[in-house]
C-alpha cells in the first residue's frame, strides 16, 4: 500500500497540489460571485501574488511565511485601490472592466523587465511549497468562508446578490461589503499565486492572462455556486480532465470547450446542485 502510494505521489504530486491551488482560485471567484459581483480580475491578483512572493524570496531572501504574507497583501491592496471606481459598475460591465484590468496587469508585468524578467518570466524560484501548506491553505480558506457564510456578513452578501438596492434600503452598507468580498477574493487568489509560484519553479506573465481568468471562472461555474463544495469539485474536474483526455491530442481543448457549453446549456446550476441531488436520491428510493 505504502509503495503504491509512493509511486502515485512521485508521478502525480504536482497534479494533486495543483488541484488544491485551483480550488483556492475557484473559491476566490466564488466569494465575489456570492456577493453578486462578476469580477474577473482573479487571474491578475494571482499573478500579483505570485510575482510579489517570488521576488521576495529570490531578491530579498525573505523567509517563506513572509513571502506568502507579501503575496497576500499586495493583491489585497491593489484590490482596495481599483475597487473604488470599478465596483460602481455592475453585471457584465464589471466583468469587462476587470478583464481589462487583468490585461493591464499582464502588460505591466511584461514591461517591467528589470523586476519581473519581462516575457522570460522568473526562473529558478525555490520550491518551498510543501503539500501540507496547500492543504492548510485550502482547509483554512474553506473554514473561513464557511464561517463567513453563516455570519451577518455572509447574509449581507446574499442580500446584495439578490438585489443591492433593496439591501441598501435595509441598512446594509452595500459598497463596503462589495469591497470586502472583492479584497478578500484578491487575498485568496494572491495566496494561491504565491503557493503556485513556489511549486512550479517558473512563472511568466502569460500564465496570468485572459485564459487563466476564464479557467478560474469555468471551474466555479462547472462545479456550481450554491455551496462551497461546487468550486472545489469544479477545480478537481478542470484540473484532472486534460490528463484524462491526453489521448485526443489536438482535439483535447476542443472537448474542454464543448463541455463548458454543454454544462451551461443543460446544467445551469453546475454539477453540485443540492436540490437536484436530493431529487435524484428521492427518485432512487422509490
Amino acid at each position: 500500500m505504502m509503495e503504491w502510494f509512493d509511486g502515485f505521489w512521485s508521478i502525480y504530486s504536482n497534479l494533486v497540489l495543483t488541484i488544491g491551488i485551483n480550488a483556492l482560485l475557484a473559491l476566490s471567484i466564488w466569494l465575489t460571485l456570492s456577493c453578486g459581483l462578476l469580477a474577473m480580475a482573479n487571474a491578475a491578483f494571482m499573478g500579483v501574488g505570485a510575482y510579489t512572493a517570488a521576488i521576495l524570496t529570490m531578491n530579498f531572501g525573505a523567509p517563506f511565511p513572509l513571502a506568502l504574507a507579501g503575496g497576500i497583501a499586495a493583491p489585497t491592496l491593489l484590490a482596495l485601490v481599483i475597487g473604488g471606481p470599478t465596483l460602481r459598475l455592475s453585471g457584465v460591465y464589471l466583468a469587462m472592466a476587470t478583464l481589462g484590468f487583468g490585461e493591464v496587469v499582464r502588460v505591466t508585468i511584461l514591461n517591467a523587465e528589470s523586476v519581473t524578467g519581462g516575457a522570460l518570466g522568473l526562473n529558478g524560484i525555490p520550491q518551498l511549497t510543501e503539500w501540507w501548506h496547500v492543504v492548510a491553505a485550502l482547509v483554512g480558506t474553506l473554514l473561513i468562508l464557511w464561517r463567513l457564510r453563516r455570519s451577518r456578513i455572509g447574509r449581507a452578501f446574499e442580500a446584495i446578490k439578490e438585489d443591492d438596492v433593496a439591501a441598501s434600503l435595509m441598512g446594509i452598507a452595500v459598497r463596503s461589503h462589495k469591497m470586502l468580498a472583492f479584497a478578500l477574493g484578491a487575498a485568496i487568489a494572491g495566496l494561491a499565486g504565491a503557493l503556485n509560484a513556489h511549486l512550479t519553479f517558473f512563472i511568466g506573465p502569460s500564465e496570468y492572462g485572459f485564459d487563466r481568468a476564464v479557467d478560474i471562472l469555468t471551474m466555479t461555474i462547472l462545479g456550481g455556486t450554491s455551496a462551497l463544495t461546487g468550486p472545489v469539485l469544479g477545480a478537481l474536474i478542470v484540473t484532472v480532465l486534460p490528463e484524462l483526455l491526453r489521448g485526443f491530442k489536438d482535439f483535447r481543448t476542443m472537448i474542454n470547450g464543448a463541455i463548458l457549453v454543454i454544462i451551461v446549456l443543460f446544467l445551469p446550476k453546475g454539477l453540485w446542485d443540492p436540490q437536484r441531488l436530493r431529487q435524484l436520491v428521492r427518485r432512487g428510493a422509490h
Binding site: 481589462g100 484590468f101 502588460v107 451551461v264
Partner: protein, 293 residues
C-alpha cells in the same frame, strides 16, 4: 513622417473599429458579451484562405464568402446556444460563459483541422503597388481596408439611425419585452444581429490576415482583447463608441510604436484603458449605470 503614421493608424484603427462594431452590436441588442467573436474573426480568415487556395476565388469573392461563412457561424451560435439561454431567461453571465466555451472549441478545432502553423495568402492576390498621395505612401491594400471598413460601418450606421429596422433594433436594445409588445419580431432581429455582427467580424479577420499576411488558429485572441479595450473606451453597446474607440486605439498604438518603442505598444493601449477604468468606467459614450434607490 507624421502624415505617414496617421495613414497607418487610420487603417489599423478601421480594422479595430470594424471588429469592435460586431462585438458592441451583439452587446447592445442581445445584451450578451460574445467572447467567441475572436474565433469568428479567425473563421473569417480561414474561410477566405480556403476559397482562395482551393477554389481559386479572386479577392472580392473571398471577402464575400468570409462575410457569409462567418455570418452563418454567428447565426448557428445564436440558434443553438444563445436562443435556448434566452428562453430560459439565464442571467447575462451565463451566455458569456457559453461563448467562452465556443471560442475555445472553435480555436482548437481550427488547430486540429489546419495545424498550428502560420498559413499565408498567395502573394499575387493583392497588387503590392504603392500609391503616393500628398507625399504619403499608401498601399493598395491599406486603401482597400479603409474604404471597405468605412463603407461597412457607414452602411450599419445609416441602417441603425435612419431605417425602420434600425429603430426596431434600438427599441430591442431598450427593452426586448416592450419591443415584442409593439409587434417587433424580436427573435428574427436577434438572428439578424448575430449574423451581421459575425459577418463584420469575419471580414475584419480577412483584412487583418491580408495586412499581416498570417492566418493561424489563435489569431482572434489578441483581437478579442483589443475589442474589449475598444468597447470599454467607447462605452459598451454604443456604435459611435466602437468607431471612435477603435480609431483611438489604432492611433494610440501606432503613435506609441513610432515615438516610444514597439515594446510599449500594448502597454500604452492598456494603460489608456486603465485610466478610463479609473476615471470614467462607463467609457466615453456609456451611460451611468448606477441604479438609485
Amino acid at each position: 513622417m507624421l502624415e505617414q503614421q496617421l495613414v497607418n493608424a487610420l487603417s489599423l484603427g478601421c480594422v479595430y473599429a470594424l471588429f469592435a462594431l460586431g462585438f458592441t452590436l451583439v452587446f447592445g441588442v442581445l445584451g450578451v458579451i460574445n467572447l467567441s467573436h475572436g474565433a469568428i474573426f479567425m473563421i473569417g480568415a480561414y474561410s477566405a484562405l480556403q476559397v482562395v487556395t482551393r477554389l481559386g476565388f479572386p479577392l472580392w469573392a473571398s471577402l464575400a464568402s468570409a462575410f457569409f461563412i462567418a455570418g452563418a457561424f454567428g447565426l448557428a451560435i445564436d440558434f443553438l446556444v444563445l436562443r435556448p439561454l434566452r428562453r430560459r431567461g439565464a442571467p447575462h453571465l451565463i451566455p458569456m460563459i457559453a461563448t467562452i466555451g465556443l471560442g475555445i472549441f472553435f480555436n482548437s478545432a481550427a488547430q486540429g483541422l489546419f495545424g498550428a502553423e502560420n498559413l499565408r495568402f498567395p502573394t499575387d492576390l493583392v497588387p503590392d503597388t504603392q500609391l503616393r498621395f500628398l507625399g504619403v505612401q499608401i498601399s493598395v491594400l491599406e486603401v482597400a481596408i479603409i474604404v471597405l471598413s468605412v463603407a461597412l460601418m457607414a452602411a450599419l450606421l445609416v441602417v441603425m439611425r435612419k431605417t425602420q429596422l434600425g429603430r426596431a433594433l434600438r427599441a430591442i436594445a431598450e427593452s426586448p419585452k416592450a419591443a415584442a409588445l409593439l409587434g417587433i419580431n424580436v427573435e428574427g432581429l436577434f438572428y439578424l444581429t448575430s449574423f451581421t455582427a459575425a459577418a463584420l467580424g469575419g471580414v475584419a479577420g480577412v483584412l487583418v490576415a491580408l495586412y499581416s499576411n498570417a492566418v493561424f488558429p489563435l489569431m482572434g485572441q489578441p483581437m478579442l482583447h483589443k475589442g474589449i479595450a475598444v468597447i470599454i473606451l467607447g462605452g459598451m453597446g454604443d456604435i459611435r463608441g466602437a468607431l471612435i474607440g477603435g480609431l483611438f486605439l489604432g492611433f494610440a498604438e501606432v503613435m506609441s510604436v513610432a515615438y516610444i518603442g514597439s515594446t510599449m505598444r500594448d502597454a500604452v493601449a492598456f494603460g489608456l484603458l486603465f485610466l478610463v477604468l479609473l476615471l470614467r468606467p462607463q467609457g466615453m459614450f456609456g451611460k451611468v449605470l448606477e441604479r438609485k434607490a
